[in-house]
Amino acid sequence: MGIRNLLVMGAFALASVSTFAVSAKAEDVTISVWSLDRDIQPAPTLVADFNKLNTGIKVEYRQIQFDDVVSEAMRAYSTGQAPDIIAIDNPEHALFASRGAFLDLTDMIAKSSEIKTANYFPGPLASTMWDGKNYGVPKATNTIALYYNKDMFKAKGLDPNKPPQTWDELLDAARKLTDPGANVYGLAFSAKGNEEGTFQFLPWAQMAGGGYENINSEGSIKALDVWKTIIDEKLASRDSLTRGQWDSTGTFNSGNAAMAISGPWELDRMLTEAKFDWGVALLPVPEAGAERSSAMGDFNWAIFANTQHPAEAFKVLEYFVSQDIRMFSDFGQLPARSDIAIPATGKPLKDEALKVFTEQLKYAKPRGPHPEWPKISKAIQDAIQAALTGQMSSKDALDQAAEKIKAVLG
């Protein structure tokens, strides 16, 4: 038996396997799902579980990299090769929804027994809406709050059970906690010139009555002035301007910053790395009693408008939503729903923190929604950086941003 025979047999075996596979799938409807989730994360796991149910709908999964989600989806849609379902970052949802690339799900959701809009936090839900209609459902969510080092609070004579509530208290605490001799900054946050900078700044402007539509309002200017004070008085590292949230919070974990503004994605790393007692507080507000706000992150599910099987695709979405209860217990992500309680993890620090984040989520607001969000965001990032580097005053910088945003809003 020579190599030749082996090859022939191999080819024959391959051919028979593939014909068998095709014939088995023939009557199934195939739905394709794209998301950035890796194998242990929600999407591929849920897809595998769904396929085990044998509902006559076969789901194919494809993982795409975070940086490629939008460009890949655009290319696929404009050449008619879009998947049926995609997970899209929430500030980019409106871009597709406004151009009719996503399917209007309003009627299907109204009839659905599984998907109820009332179950969702208002922020994540709003990011899936365009023009009053539902163009998707939130997949998971996150937000930002204030982490603080309780041991450092004690050492500097601050009450570790009374974290700063207002901007003034935050500045005061940061001044007391900053200790250049010990390489400790009062606060760590990110003012990076990418989406992270906008993500961190916008809640501050919103708490003071501003927003992206009126970014040069008095409140937004005051917010940026507070940021400027933090940088100018060296209460936070100047490298906050080029450092993302993950790296900035790393300095908190290593004891080089006494407070940090970041999200729940930090919790697991902090539990292993931080060798001190810490807590989480709601984002400080401009003054006592002021409106709360926070950032809103994570992805949404949407169905592409040119799907061949809208009803089946919606069934798959319904299955995903029905599994939201596993979002935290199995995958460590926060479901975007107010009707699902986060189960205790048995780690007191984490459970306390999650309570605060769940509370903060009630105030989380979407970025936009606007189809040209990246341009609006870029204008805000440039303003933050121009002011923090001292090249422009907060007012001038935000006036310029408002000008650029006005051109985008039309």
């Binding site: 010139g193 100047r238 990246p374 440039d382 580097t389 310029q400």
Partner: protein
């Protein structure tokens, strides 16, 4: 007919065939995308018309809009500084090292090989390492400068608009120096030794020998290395992505990074293409210099 076939296997036809393959490849892989890019810079492009070829023509609108933006001129200026400073640094240090290793002390060729390691490393890795070195609070560079008493306070290399561009330039000089050194070493070793012997007999000192023999004999190598350097620095993207992301407030932004940011961050593909066209003009210029300087190459 027979003549035709024989000319293909051996003769003019064969020559044409040999030239046609690389030309066709170049046209397909570089020429078409380049033309498409130029076309896009005159069109209105958004993500939903990406898949189509005939999009609304807007004439020079993209160019006008681009130059109306307040950040355009500073970014072009930054690109100029980045290119000139990087090439100057890479060339001078590379030439110095090449001359140093040319003296052929024991282990010289070995050490010279080791220097190439920096050229082999991926830009993103180099960027990540320089990111730590240049960090404001805990960076090694600040530590050295502080310990030697050159500075009092920390310099925030990445986040201070006065230093951010130079932070990337320093990293880029380090990255490109070894490549310069190797190419210049090749040029140096091609100079016939008897020229120096004759000059020495005539009483020329070291400086005169360098000025009248080394430099003129190296002319083509220098022209090539500088135009290659121009192309490599205009391609340098990884270091910007890893160290400053073009910030703060565009103070370290350059055209190549900006084109990417506009196209793939803000989805403004037309403007991204417009910047690329402007860059193509510069690279064309470099290519002409490169071709001209290598045309008269003499290999001894």
């Amino acid at each position: 007919m027979k003549r035709f076939f024989s000319s293909i296997t051996d003769g003019k036809g064969f020559d044409i065939l040999l030239v046609a393959f690389p030309l066709g490849y170049l046209f397909l892989m570089s020429g078409l995308p380049l033309l498409y890019n130029v076309l896009m810079s005159f069109q209105e492009v958004d993500m939903f018309s990406l898949g189509t070829f005939w999009r609304p023509f807007v004439g020079l609108k993209n160019y006008r809009d681009l130059f109306a933006q307040p950040e355009t001129l500073p970014i072009l200026y930054n690109t100029g500084i980045f290119v000139v400073a990087s090439i100057a640094g890479q060339f001078l240090l590379g030439f110095g090292l090449a001359l140093f290793f040319w003296t052929n002390f024991p282990g010289a060729s070995w050490l010279r090989g080791l220097f190439l390691v920096s050229w082999v490393m991926p830009g993103l890795v180099v960027g990540a390492i320089w990111n730590w070195i240049l960090s404001g609070d805990f960076g090694v560079l600040n530590f050295l400068l502080r310990e030697t008493g050159i500075i009092d306070g920390n310099i925030f290399w990445r986040s201070d608009p006065d230093f951010s561009l130079w932070a990337v330039i320093i990293a880029n000089i380090w990255l490109g120096m070894a490549f310069n050194m190797i190419l210049l070493s090749v040029g140096l070793s091609a100079i016939p030794k008897d020229l120096y012997e004759a000059a020495e007999l005539d009483g020329a000192n070291a400086f005169q020998r360098f000025w009248t023999i080394t430099l003129p004999m190296m002319r083509s190598s220098i022209g090539a290395i500088i135009s290659l350097g121009l192309i490599f620095t205009l391609q340098q993207f990884d270091l910007f992505a890893a160290i400053t992301s073009g910030g703060p407030n565009n103070s370290s932004n350059v055209t190549q990074y900006w084109a990417w940011d506009l196209s793939f961050r803000q989805y403004d593909f037309a403007k991204g293409a417009t910047i690329s066209v402007i860059m193509i003009v510069f690279v064309m210029f470099a290519s002409v210099v490169y071709v001209r300087s290598t045309r008269h190459e003499v290999r001894g």
